[in-house]
Symmetry: C2
Subunit: 281 residues, 2 copies
């Protein structure tokens, strides 16, 4: 078993915000992640909410800006907050250093294309290696839910739709709903998976949801003043897919909100309470 | 009257987080500040809480990390969040570019020493110019309270103790309580005010509080795991001064908390509710 190295440990809402480093066998590099352990975890293992961040983020953005820990402390839920890509020397970036591919932009897929396939295995890291590590060493249970923002909303939806037995519920803020059909998604999927678009379908939340009725409840919030709404996010496509499969998808358009963490902070409490309905006894 | 130029305007907790730029006559440079306007301000002017940030901060740290807007939206309070020093070309910095003097470290004093006195007039900017500007153009009333963190806690206490008629209440997180007697304070006061220490006393919260009973209620929170507690902050001295003058000071030591915004975020709700008792009818 790999060892978690503690980088920092800070008191927050009577619990602890901790940052760890560890060797990732799946990503073939050293990684960092953050976790919030609520006060209840001092008594017994608590359920864990996995948060997937968006483009350019690390584990720090959500940790500092969401305000989620206040509600997690009240409900007795842990937050596990990974990075958005492999990191470090030897991990290839976008050839031009673009913000929407490579470092900070792993898109939560298992890459098959050179030079990315040796490190960019974020799907397996998030769904397998990280929970195993965290559940072995931290006071969290195997009761999991998953949620995220933008690229991370895409990742959360894809993981919960593909392997619903891993999660009790899923939610997303302004997710990339139909990556095979938007510029961010097409660039990432072509770069990591190659030009054969048939290989992309298992990473498209709308295609997955249209194909099979979701086995977990889904909550999505989307700001209607989001600058990326029409070109990149396409929540209408997800809504249509949910209708086709008869899935339990609640998609809420939030008037006046943009794509920022101010939008996430506004509705994070409702997302935690949504997940608590399925995670807590 | 000067004009406020809107830099950004974002929906947050059903209100608006807005950033403005303006020419400051007092500071003799262009400045930025942020304001949170709660939904209630669409109906009528609301009371305003002025937040003073600590060393190295701008208006953005508190805006992004404190979570204060959630509670401000509930209570119907505006937040006014200024920068921590004058800025821009021509504004002199610390000769060695240190983090604890010059840019980002105005210490909320009116400088008398060259080359700082032409710009570093933060006491007058915060207590006079900024409220006049904000109250003229924004839906906020002249009912004010003031609070802050570290260097900003020092600034808030000093302003409320010197001119209590301007504020209904004051609070602070981990304030520099006795700047004439700690390294951060001695460096700043000598640099901005000169070596005659008799000129420093009016910027020392403990000396002000010992001299005269506070005319406004005071709340102070201090983490006992704060790395700056003993050398820089000295809350015991403030407590002693409050005892001497018989002032209404509540100083709370919070076990396990450090100096970071995680500490601020944990107790910000209690500070807003404290101020609301004096600001709201």
């Amino acid at each position: 078993m790999h060892t978690l190295e503690k980088i920092s440990d800070q008191r927050l809402f009577a619990g602890r915000q901790i940052r760890y480093a560890h060797d990732s066998a799946v990503l073939n590099c050293r990684m960092q992640f953050s976790v919030y352990l609520p006060p209840q975890s001092e008594q017994q293992p608590v359920p864990a909410l996995y948060w997937l961040s968006g483009l350019t983020c690390t584990d720090e953005n959500f940790s500092a800006k969401s305000g989620a820990q206040r509600v997690a402390a009240e409900l007795g839920l842990a937050l596990v907050i990974p990075d958005t890509s492999p990191r470090g020397e030897g991990v290839p970036d976008d050839p031009e250093g673009a913000y929407d591919f490579g470092l900070g932009a792993g898109f939560y897929v298992n890459a098959t294309q050179a030079p990315y396939q040796d490190h960019y295995q974020m799907y397996d890291y998030i769904s397998r290696e990280l929970p195993a590590l965290a559940e072995a060493d931290l006071p969290i249970s195997t009761q999991r839910a998953i949620f995220g923002h933008s690229m991370g909303g895409h990742g959360a939806l894809v993981m919960a739709l593909r392997e619903p037995y891993r999660y009790r519920s899923v939610s997303a803020f302004a997710p990339i709903c139909n990556p095979v059909n938007c510029p961010w998604g097409r660039k990432a999927l072509a770069g990591y998976l190659g030009n054969d678009e048939s290989q992309w379908q298992d990473y498209d939340a709308s295609m997955l949801l249209a194909k099979r009725k979701a086995a977990v409840p889904i909550l999505v919030d989307q700001g209607d003043a989001d600058q990326f709404l029409a070109e990149q996010l396409k929540p209408d496509t997800l809504q249509a897919a949910g209708t086709v499969s008869g899935s339990a998808l609640e998609l809420r358009m939030q008037p006046g909100y943009d794509h920022s963490y101010y939008f996430v902070a506004t509705f994070i409490e409702e997302h935690l309470r949504f997940h608590a309905r399925y995670l807590l006894p």
